[in-house]
Structure formats: C-alpha cells, structure tokens
C-alpha cells in the first residue's frame, strides 16, 4: 500500500530522528515557514498584549471619549499618537486589537483543546471497542456533522446566552465530532496492525494499549485536523461575536471589534473595522497555511 518497501532509499549519511526529519520536510516550503513565523508573531502579540500595548483599552481612566474616532496617526488631547486610530469610545485601536487577538486566540485554543480531548476519547473508544458502541457514537457524529457548524453554534448560544464560557462550550460542541471521526478513522486502521495484536497478547490493559500504543499512532492526522479546526474555531467565534451572539462587549474579541467598527464604516471611518479584520485574516490564513504543509508532511501516502 505504501511505496516505502520497494524504494528503500540508501541510508542517509547521518541518522535523523523522526522529529528532525519532520522539521526538514516542513522547512521545504518557504511559504509554510513564513506562515509559521507569522503565527508565532501573532501568538507573541496575544500573550504579551498587556506588556506591549500602548494603553489598556479597558481601563476607563486611560480612555478619553474626546479622542473617539480619530483616524490613524491622530493625536490625543494628552499628546498620545494613535497609529491605527481610535474607536467610538476613544480607545487606541492598536491596543484594542492586541487584547482582541488575545481573546480570540484564547477562545480558539481552549475550545480546540477540550474538543480534541473529548473527540479523542470518544473516537478511540468507538474504534477500540467497536460493535454497538461504535455504531451509536458514529451515528451521533454523522448526524451532527450533517448540520453546519454555524447552525449548531446558533442553537446552543440561543439556549445558553452570551459569555466567554458559553462560546467555548458552543465551539467544543461544534468541533468534537470532527476529532472523533478523524481519530476513529485512523484508529480503526491502526487497530488491525500487528503491534496492537502483540500488545493484546502481552496482556496489557485496555487503558495502556489505547493510550500508550494506539494514541501516538493516530496523532499525525489529529494534528492536521486540529490546526484546521483551530482556524475554523477562531473564524466561527469572530463570526458569532460579529453577529452579537458570541462574546459580551466587556471582553471583545477581534470579531466584536469588527462589528463595532462596522457601524462607522458607511460614514467612511474604515479603520475601526479594517485593522482588526486584517489581524483576524493574518491569524486564520497563517494557521491554515501551516496546516496545509503539516498535512503534506504528515500524510503517509506522500512520504518519500
């Protein structure tokens, strides 16, 4: 099934660890490396937002309503320069974006992690135990995946209401099924391999077989799906917040910043919406590009 057997290459002069090999393969695409660097920068900005922001946009003492809607490069009454302008409340857009990025990434990462954990457990158990467990679980997964993510999120948020915790729950509910399906799919393939049989023959416990033997082997596709899903989650959160049913105004993410700016856009004050929009775009596109390259590198069928 793979070409690995008949085209066994001559041994490389230095023995690479799989990780070194992975890094080398990944670095083959300059676009992907650039995307990874961009994402690292985005991540740094999000983590260090309180340290590097010119002002704390949620500290009312630092904000003056008189500074509202200044264009990029405008000066505040106190002499501060707003490089990307200010919003309707007179907040520095640059600072607001840094904080918004922080919220967006936090929500994306948290929901992704929990969804991954849940999806992984469900998918692994479905594949490992098979039979009726598998049938029931996969029916639910299929049913959920037949509805678009935004609709599922809409249903949940309509019932739960606004809030960081609520939107994380909604995003977990939206995503877990993708992980479950992916894990089950690759775990089913791996389960038939001899090493699992060998582990079973050794009398290892279910838990040990699943987590120490099966899990590491289903990680590659999971990582790929995970990258794409986090980009989706960030986009979906931004969309829901833009619609006004995601995050509360007290904790604005990029989506909410864009929504706030949207009201001013028709009067030509483009910067309030555009800059957070660009930040969102850079984040999503860089994650997707990294994900694309990961898929190529980790896909066993494409391995040289």
């Amino acid at each position: 099934m793979t070409f690995a057997t008949d085209t066994a290459p001559a041994l490389p002069p230095k023995v690479e660890t799989p990780f070194q090999r992975f890094v080398a393969d990944f670095a083959e695409s300059p676009v992907a490396v650039a995307a990874l660097a961009t994402f690292a920068a985005v991540l740094f900005v999000a983590l260090a937002a309180p340290l590097i922001s010119p002002q704390n946009p949620y500290d009312l003492r630092q904000i003056d309503i008189m500074d509202s809607r200044l264009p990029p490069g405008g000066q505040s009454l106190a002499g501060m320069t707003f490089w990307l302008g200010t919003d309707g409340q007179g907040r520095d857009m640059l600072s607001a974006m840094f904080y918004g990025l922080r919220t967006s990434l936090f929500v994306g990462a948290m929901s992704g992690m929990f969804a991954l954990a849940i999806g992984m457990c469900v998918g692994l158990s479905a594949a490992y135990f098979g039979g009726r467990v598998d049938t029931i679980v996969m029916r639910i997964v299929d049913l959920q995946l037949s509805f678009p993510a935004i609709l599922v999120a809409l249903i949940l948020l309509a019932v739960l209401g606004k809030g960081v915790d609520k939107i994380i729950i909604a995003l977990i509910a939206v995503q877990w099924a993708y992980y479950a399906r992916t894990v089950r799919g690759s775990a089913l393939v791996e389960r038939r391999r001899e090493y699992i049989e060998a582990a079973t023959c050794l009398g290892l416990s279910h838990k040990r077989i699943v987590f120490r033997h099966l899990l590491p082997n289903v990680m590659p596709p999971l990582i790929v799906v995970g990258t794409v899903q986090i980009a989706h989650a960030i986009a979906l959160e931004a969309t829901l917040s833009f619609l006004g049913i995601g995050l509360p105004v007290t904790e604005p993410s990029l989506g909410l910043l864009i929504a706030n700016g949207f009201n001013y856009m028709l009067s030509g004050k483009y910067w309030i919406s555009i800059f957070p929009g660009i930040a969102l775009l850079i984040t999503i596109v860089s994650i997707n590009l990294v994900g694309d390259q990961l898929r190529d590198v980790l896909n066993p069928r494409l391995q040289k």
């Binding site: 049913l143 037949s146 509805f147 678009p148 935004i150 609709l151 809409l154 249903i155 948020l157 309509a158 019932v159 739960l160 980009a231 986009a235 931004a238 969309t239 833009f242 619609l243 006004g244 049913i245 989506g255 864009i258 949207f262 856009m265 028709l266 030509g268 483009y270 919406s273 555009i274 929009g277 969102l280 775009l281 999503i284 596109v285 997707n288």
Partner: protein
C-alpha cells in the same frame, strides 16, 4: 425506485422525530421553559395563567405530546415582539432567504464548474494556479469579513452598489422577489456574491479534483481515439462525470448556505429568516427562536432527502443498484 424513496422517507421521519426530541428537551431541560416561552415582562398572575395555558404543570412527556400535536397544526407559539404566530413570521421571511441562497448556489455552480474544470485541465498554468489560490482564500476568509470588504469597496468607496435591504421587489406566484427588477438585482448582487464565495471555492475544488481524475480515465482517451473534438470531450464526457459529485455535494450544501445566510443577511440587512433569528436572539423572542430551529432542521432533512433522490436519478449506476437490491 419506490422502495428506495419509501425507505428514505421513513429514515427522514425518524431523524425529524429525534431532532424534535432534542430541540424540545433542549429547550425544556437546558433552558427554563418559562423563560423561553413566556414574555419576561409578564407579572406573577399572568405567568401562572400562562403556565396552565401552556400545560407546563403537566409531566414532561405529556408536554412533549402536546408540543408535537400543536406543531403538526402549525402552531409553534407567538412572537413576543411582533405578536404574530412565529411560524407565520418565518414563512414571511423565508422567500427572501431562499432567493438569496438559490442565487448564491447559482453563482457558485455557474462560475465554479468552468473555473474548476479549467484549473483541472491546466493545473500547472498561471490561470490554473490563480484559480486555486482564489479558492484557498475563499476557504480561509471568514464570510462576514468578505461581506464587509464588499460593502467597503462597492458601496462606500466606489458607491456603485447598494449595501442594505432588498430593493424593489415584485410579486411572482404570490412571493415577493428581487431578481426581476434592476434595483432588486443591484441589491441582490453583493449579498449573493458574499454568500456564494465559500461554496464557489468548494465547487472549484471539487470540479478541479474531479476533472483531474476523469481526464486520466480510459474512457476519455477512448473518446479522443474516436476523433471527438476537445470541446465535446470536455463539455460532454468530462463535465457530465464531474457534475454528479458536484451537484450532490452542492445540494447537501444548500442547507448550509441557508444557515450561513444568517451572517450575510445581518451584514447586508437582508430581510430574511437569518436576520430574523439574530434579531430574535438579541430581543429574546424565544418562540421565534424555537420555531426557527425546528423549521431549519425540517428544511435540512427535506433537502437531504431530495438530494438523495436526485442523485439516484442522475447517476445510472446508483439506479441500477437499487433495482437489484
């Protein structure tokens, strides 16, 4: 064929039943039904009267039966905001959403299949690569962001297209439609393009992948060996083969287009059911929310059913299997 359709119908009924259970218990268990179904501004006496009227004092399985019975009669409650039956409100808004969604689907097919086939026939050409680049962007960009950009470019900066509303509508078979007037078309264009973008990218990818696979098939080479013109090979032999998966998947996506119209309708103030649900969530107009969710689920299942049947008509191989089975 009849066996096939009957079996599918039964399956769909089962799914609708399960979904009605989920929505009903979602509303009644996760949320407080009194909050959801009764006007929050009502006083204590009113609330008690309403609880009795709604049967909320009865056991939950009985409530479910009543709920189902009413749903069959087309009664899904009254809107607090509009004071009208929720179902009627949704039905009033539905034509606008359907018009938008169908228009978006049309754009994605009419543009997506030729573009995707082009990219599939000439994957290494500059055009082929640009088409793919466009489709990758279309996948990555959040739909609301693209909508904002469209408004900024075409409505604010160039000022050539309107950014909100439906424009002038005319009646067609008792429905109000926009696409028959110039003003309506101008209003329809940006939202439809916005909504189409994601599906357009999807169609491009599917058509490209399909084309690349089909041109390698022996029957394409055989068609060339028959001395057919390249246009006939591409337009008949290749296109008919890729249409089947594309139409199937796109048909399944109609539901998701309707769901995503929530975003587009909000941005462009398009008076459809998507805008209604967002407004209702923000105004806590709960009967409308419940009615919308049930309607959408129902619509989804109907679409899936229709697509399955269409698919079996389009692909002669599936038809045969059914005759045999």
């Amino acid at each position: 064929m009849t066996v096939f359709i009957t079996r599918r119908l039964l399956q769909s009924c089962l799914v609708i039943f399960v979904m009605s259970l989920i929505v009903f218990f979602g509303v009644n268990v996760i949320g407080n039904p009194i909050d959801i179904l009764i006007n929050p501004e009502a006083d204590q006496a009113e609330i008690e009267r309403a609880i009795k009227a709604l049967g909320l004092d009865r056991p939950i399985h009985e409530q479910y039966l009543v709920f189902i019975q009413r749903a069959f009669e087309g009664d899904l409650g009254r809107s607090f905001v509009f004071g009208e039956p929720a179902l009627k409100l949704i039905m009033q808004r539905m034509p606008a959403t359907l018009e938008l969604a169908l228009c978006a689907m049309l754009i994605s097919i009419v543009l997506g299949i030729p573009l995707g086939m082009w990219a599939g026939l000439k994957p290494e050409s500059a055009a082929g690569k640009s088409i793919m680049g466009f489709s990758i962007l279309g996948f990555s960009l959040p739909s609301f962001w693209v909508g904002i950009m469209l408004i900024m470019i075409f409505a604010v900066m160039l000022g050539v297209l309107p950014s909100t509303g439906r424009g002038q509508t005319v009646g067609l078979f008792g429905l109000q439609v926009s696409f028959l007037t110039w003003d309506g078309l101008a209003h329809l264009l940006l939202p439809a393009v916005n909504l189409a973008l994601f599906k357009l990218s999807l169609v491009i990818r599917l058509a490209r992948a399909g084309t690349r696979e089909v041109v390698l098939q022996d029957y394409v080479k055989f068609a060339r060996a028959k001395g057919l013109s390249p246009s006939r090979i591409v337009l008949v032999h290749v296109m008919k083969n890729i249409m089947i998966p594309v139409v199937t998947i796109l048909g399944l996506e109609l539901g998701s287009v309707i769901a995503f119209s929530v975003v587009t309708e909000t941005i462009f103030a398009w008076p459809g059911m998507g805008k209604l649900i967002i407004d209702s969530i923000n105004l806590l107009d709960r009967p409308v929310i419940v009615a919308y969710l049930l309607m959408t689920v129902f619509m989804f299942i109907t679409i899936n059913l229709v697509v399955d049947i269409l698919y079996s008509i389009l692909d002669p191989r599936v038809r045969l299997q059914d005759i045999k089975g």
